[in-house]
Amino acid sequence: MSILHTASLLRHPADRRSFLEKCAKVSFGLSVLPFFTRIAEAAETPGAVKAPNAGLPGFGKAKRVIFLQLNGGMSHIDTFDPKTGASKGPGSIVSAKGDMQLTSYLPETAKVSDKITVIRSMTAKVGVHASAAYLMRTGFEQRGSVQHPTLGAWAQHFLGTSHKTLPSSVTVNRTANHGNGWFPAAYSPLPILNPTDGLLDTKSPVSEETVAKRTGLLAQLDAGFGGKVADESVKAYNEFYEATFQLMQSRDLKAFDLAAETAETKARYGKSKFGQGCLLARRLVENGVRFVEVAHGGWDMHATLDDRMEEVGGDFDRVYAALLQDLDSRGLLDSTLVVVASEFGRKPTFEGGGRGHHPLVFSTVLAGGGVKRGFVFGASDEKGYAPAANGVSPGSLHATIAHAAGLPVQTDIITPAGRPMQVGNKAAPQTAIFA
């Protein structure tokens, strides 16, 4: 069974069972079998896959999601939630577009902040980088006994693949890290470790003539096994080969190639790996990839926060503003949700020129995909220490993104281990942020 037909089949419950059974046979990790069987049964029950949140504001507006991960813990007080008094950082407070205040470290973002919604009341308990990053990436606390999927995999489960030849999920500047969770490996994001390299191995090292002769002979010699064996997983590989032949000749490959961008556009995004990564993300979503994660490192500012904010924050600021402007000018922002997420915030107090980890309150920023433009949701207290109103958990953030992407939230699926799970870990979406 090829992943190619997933989308259409998943929309028709009548076809769903046979599809899922085939799918289970293909991804013959076998532990998925009970899972798919159960889901298939659920799907036959009328309304079982209906989204209870379908009627709420913002549902399904985001056709694509770009998820920017600021690794290390972005200081909310020095970026999107400026404070006065003892908590104040080295940057000054500036009035930005969209009637909100930002710090002077984000001058470019301040020019496009009328396109964004800032959530200033994110709250969590995990103050360790890896575990907190896992929580922000999946919406679930990390456990040694189960791997939770990313939103891209959840979306592929509920909505099918987003394109006939391109992957549905891509990670940029980071590894895939089992982003499929308990879903089949085919749902794992395609990792692009270096955006300027793009997708590797799409060109044959030998001449076209030799390729043609080789593939011609391959078709003849494979007729015995590949052509005759009826096994589903063999058939699946026949289709992967077919899909690869198509992709190699496909125009869609250009989605991975930054060389096709004008010098001006490239310059706007900047030469940094994050800049090029965000440009690649835009190209990918523009061409049909549904979910793209882009990682940006360097936010763990325990010391010399001032300098680091200039450098790391400055890079983010320029690239982020360029991305929002670019998407908006192409008419893509209304249907593309851009998320800025960091694993936690930083303490209101300074210690040795920097701030410590602070998960109790921090900020997350959303733009596009149906969210309000120029809006602040929730608040931290005066010091920036704890949420003052509308606390939002990482699970709820995930439910919110899932809701925007048109996924059923607060709806059980059964994992291969037989455990009921929900996207966003049972939390409700924050529908107040949608226009």
């Binding site: 293909v26 990790g29 085919a186 191995d201 044959s204 080789r214 064996v229 590989y237």
Partner: protein, 709 residues
């Protein structure tokens, strides 16, 4: 203790043994209707090792059952219907008590099964499988061809395909027992240990680093050493469960240290790995779909409540040293701190308490938990191994390990037997293999029972058990297509057609590139790591400096070539190879997967093809993807295949005619000779401008290469 009469009544099949815990809940299996008893007594394992026996009790009643074991005063017997019985031996006649003891003696003297025992135990498998197939009006598959058997056996037992020479030697042999001979040859080859390492690494979550980058190389070395010695599974597990100290003191500590930061998850993981019991849900609440309660989980976890994985005092002391002398290299200090702080130690107090949010009435939140073993049926609790002492907290882990690894443990032998069966057939007798709580869910409970028996009779020698399986006609039958398990259980007409594992694909490509050279390339990195160990109790500036110097000397030579790649650390990789070194081609380090970083970095061929991330047990997959195919067609591996230096290509080039060259490449890649149509097409292509390197590329890209039949 059950009354004697009842035991014998049960043994005689007059009534059913107390039903397994979950049997009542799940519907009876539709597939297995009846197992036809063999018409005539079949030569079985028990006929050769004298363990089938008519046992007589002091009241003169008799049953026919096989001897399974003697633990203290308790004897375990198994009747022909596969049921196990445990009872105090003193109800038997003195003659039978002596006989049981002589069985134990005999078993001790035998290291490996004789050919006759192997043949008999394999025949039992065929008989049991055949009976279930017949009862369901199915046939076993026809015998696989020699070529299919050859390729399957090499992949299953050596982890790679045979070379052309190895293939030719077997295919050309006319010896009637050539399959049995090949089995013995391959299971005693060095490829066998490498293959077992790959398989076990996925099960045991073998990773180069745990926690925040703490290297675990001595754990890998320990595992390789134990596999090379063919250490029995129960011994290996016991060593892992009871290991004390740092990784530099005892590599076996690596298994438990992996979860040092999350001990509750560790308990949940080891239950899955060693018992096929999935208690993860019960960590936070009563299991919604099984009978395990949160209390069950906590009571099990309490056996580890006195065990500590991290010595904060050492971390503090090294931090102080770091602050006092800022010239010390931070990176080395962190490594030394981690290497010395992570260790397994048992305190004299069991500290686990019920969690703050405990919501059931059977215990109070915050109360200390009393260790108690789980049982799958009421009868389990009367087994002697359930009598564990919980009085000395520092002994709790050892007590647990004794229970865990005992042949009497109700799931320990079944779990590993089922997993080994899956390794050979592509499917467990019970699926999923990580949840075998309900043995009645087996596609054939009789087969499961027999395999469990063989596992115990082999004293957990996994090589012996695999020899038995490989010698069965069931294993040697032609492969079945992937069955539709949604409607019926698979009854093992033969093994399943399946894609090679990531390690099998990689190791096979390495063999085509280098011949069997890579079977002699061994990576051992633990010794370098030991250089960072501080003398016990001496966390001083001077000792820390010594350790830094030692580790610099050990790692210095490879500082330039080592470095870090995304994913796995390659520290010590360059000089970690003793004897033969890996060959580098097209930026690929050509060593067997077991002799590369564990797991390989995420961008490596192995990971792309489904090598697990090892964060959880059984994390490997064999799912397909487009990037895999891109690599095979265009990537470094494609260049490796279509290279004039490739061993397969060079062997073919030596042949005199195009037909012989084609045949040689077919043997190298597909372990068989081409048929006339293939021979014609391939030879013609060589006339039409394709080179042998192109033909190698074509064969490596066939589906047949990727699959085992």
């Amino acid at each position: 203790m059950r009354p004697l009469a009842l035991i014998f009544g049960l043994c005689l099949g007059l009534t059913a043994l107390a039903a397994p815990k979950k049997e009542a809940k799940k519907a009876a299996m539709p597939v297995i209707k009846a197992v036809v008893a063999p018409a005539a007594p079949v030569a079985s394992l028990a006929d050769i090792t004298p363990i089938w026996h008519e046992w007589t009790d002091k009241e003169g009643r008799k049953i026919n059952a096989r001897f399974c074991g003697l633990t203290g005063d308790f004897i375990t017997l198994q009747t022909r219907d596969g049921r196990n019985y445990h009872f105090k031996i003193d109800i038997l006649t003195p003659e039978d008590v002596a006989f049981a003891k002589s069985c134990v003696e005999l078993a001790r003297r035998t290291n490996s099964f004789s050919p006759a025992v192997i043949a008999s135990a394999a025949a039992d498998i065929d008989r049991l499988v055949g009976a279930v197939l017949a009862a369901n009006k199915q046939q076993p598959n026809a015998l696989a061809t020699d070529a299919q058997f050859l390729r399957r056996l090499y992949l299953d037992a050596a982890g790679r395909i045979p070379t052309a020479q190895e293939a030719e030697a077997f295919l050309g042999s006319t010896a009637p027992d050539k399959r049995a001979k090949l089995i013995d040859e391959v299971v005693f080859s060095s490829g066998y240990s490498m293959q077992m390492f790959n398989w076990m690494a996925d099960l045991l979550r073998v990773k180069d680093t745990f926690a925040k980058g703490v290297p675990a190389f001595t754990f890998e070395d320990w595992l390789k050493t134990r596999l090379a010695a063919n250490a029995p599974w129960d011994k290996m597990v016991f060593e892992m469960m009871t290991a004390d100290g740092r990784l530099s003191d005892n590599g076996a500590a690596g298994f438990m240290l992996f979860d040092a930061e999350m001990p509750l998850d560790g308990v949940s993981n080891l239950m899955t790995t060693f018992l096929g019991t999935n208690m993860a849900c019960a960590q936070c609440h009563d299991h919604p779909l099984a009978d395990w309660t949160q209390r069950d989980f906590y009571q099990m976890a309490a056996f580890f409540g006195a065990t500590d994985g991290k010595d904060e005092a050492i971390l503090g002391a090294i931090n102080k040293i770091a602050k006092a002398d800022s010239t010390l290299p931070k990176g080395s200090l962190k490594k030394i701190a981690d290497m010395n702080a992570y260790r397994l130690d048992d305190a004299n107090k069991q500290k686990l308490t019920f969690p703050k949010d405990y919501k059931y009435s059977d215990a109070k939140a915050g109360d200390p938990v009393l260790p108690e073993l789980i049982a799958w049926s009421k009868a389990d609790k009367s087994l002697p191994i359930y009598k564990v002492s919980t009085k000395q907290p520092e002994q709790l882990r050892d007590e647990f390990a004794r229970w865990l690894t005992s042949p009497q443990n109700p799931r320990f032998a079944a779990n590993i037997a089922n997993r080994i069966w899956k390794k050979a057939f592509g499917l467990g007798v019970i699926e999923p293999v990580n949840d075998i709580d309900d043995l009645a869910q087996a596609s054939s409970p009789e087969l499961m029972s027999h395999l469990t028996f063989v596992m115990k009779a082999a004293k957990f020698d996994l090589r012996e058990v695999q020899r038995v399986i490989y010698n069965s006609k069931t294993y040697q039958a032609a492969a079945s297509d992937t069955p539709d398990l949604g409607t019926d259980k698979y009854l093992f007409n033969g093994p399943l057609v399946r894609r090679l594992s990531a390690e099998q694909v990689w190791d096979s490509l390495v063999v085509t590139a280098l011949g069997n050279y890579a079977d002699n390339v061994h990576l051992r990195r633990g010794e370098d790591m030991k250089s960072m160990a501080l003398p016990p109790g001496k966390v001083t500036l001077a000792e820390v400096k010594n350790a830094i110097d030692r580790s610099r000397k050990a790692l210095g030579a490879k500082g330039a070539g080592g470095g870090k790649s995304s994913g796995g650390s390659t520290i010590g990789l360059a000089t970690g190879y003793d004897g033969a070194k890996p060959v580098n081609r097209f930026s690929l380090m050509l060593a067997r997967a077991s002799e590369l970083p564990q797991p390989s970095s995420e961008s490596h061929f192995l990971r792309l093809w489904g090598q697990g991330d090892r964060l959880l047990a059984d994390s490997a997959t064999n799912d397909g993807s487009v990037p895999q195919v891109l690599q095979m067609m265009n990537g470094a591996v494609a260049k490796l295949v279509a290279d004039v230096r490739s061993d397969a290509v060079m062997q073919a080039a030596k042949a005199a005619t195009p037909e012989k060259q084609v045949t040689s490449l077919y043997l190298s890649y597909l372990s068989r000779k081409p048929n006339s149509r293939e021979l014609g097409a391939a030879s013609q292509s060589l006339q039409d401008g394709l080179a042998l390197t192109d033909l190698a590329w074509v064969l490596a890209n066939t589906r047949e290469f990727l699959f085992v039949q």
